[in-house]
Symmetry: C2
């Protein structure tokens, strides 16, 4: 299975928030129109980002903004905020291997560490990419094609 599109949508939304602030009030409708999904999907996503301390959302009056500087928000933070699965659980392990089989009895002991190692490699890479870098890349591209 793939990692949910909530992740790429979340990055998209955060970029919008920083790049369009000033020009527009950042409402779920505006974000929904940029991403091209239903506004309710955006609102649900904003709730997850809020719970993770990444954004603030103004109820009533409307509008959302970052709660931290973009340099201190990494792709890993965003990933953890929007992915529902427990930390350290990228891989789905089959539950009840047969303890009577020498392999079934030991498969967890052999594999668990390896799987964690693979996941860590992915997370390290995510951690190395900040929202700030993506903002710079985006600004540069906007310059070229507008």
């Amino acid at each position: 299975m793939q990692i949910s599109s909530r992740f790429t949508v979340a990055v998209h939304v955060l970029l919008c928030m920083e790049l369009l602030k000033g020009e527009h009030k950042i409402t779920s409708d505006l974000l929904a129109s940029s991403v091209a999904v239903n506004p309710v999907v955006i609102r649900r996503l904003l709730q997850q980002l809020k719970a993770a301390g990444i954004v603030r959302v103004a109820r009533g009056t409307g509008g959302a903004e970052l709660m931290k500087p973009a340099e201190s928000i990494t792709l890993l933070d965003i990933y953890h905020a929007v992915e529902c699965v427990e930390e350290g659980e990228l891989f789905h392990f089959h539950e009840n291997p047969n303890p009577l089989c020498p392999v079934g009895r030991n498969i967890h002991g052999v594999l668990d560490g390896r799987l964690a190692q693979i996941q860590r490699a992915m997370e390290r890479e995510m951690e190395s990419i900040t929202l700030q870098k993506l903002l710079e890349d985006t600004r540069e591209k906007i310059c070229c094609n507008s």
Copy 2:
């Protein structure tokens, strides 16, 4: 979402094939009993591993075995064999960002490379782990607890 348990089941199955050969004929029933799933699930999995050139399955008479030495089978090979998604598609990207928004217009250009970079990190780690290493780890553990 998590990576399907087909992956860990596949690793389990391949370890069984090497460690139990000689002692038992490697049938889907035997493997199913060690993994604790339905034999049909195992047969379907073996078809995918066969298509990837990793195993040979004896129709009629029954029995399965590796087609390559365990040193030359990596976790990445197994992952590619059993995961249905296209190569390079760990992340699910939202399809139609709004080209009228400067962010929507550029989000693919900004993110695609980064996502590929993250996925490569994961795949490099998978590639570094061979079935042979896992076999050695398993033999060692079996020694200790039998």
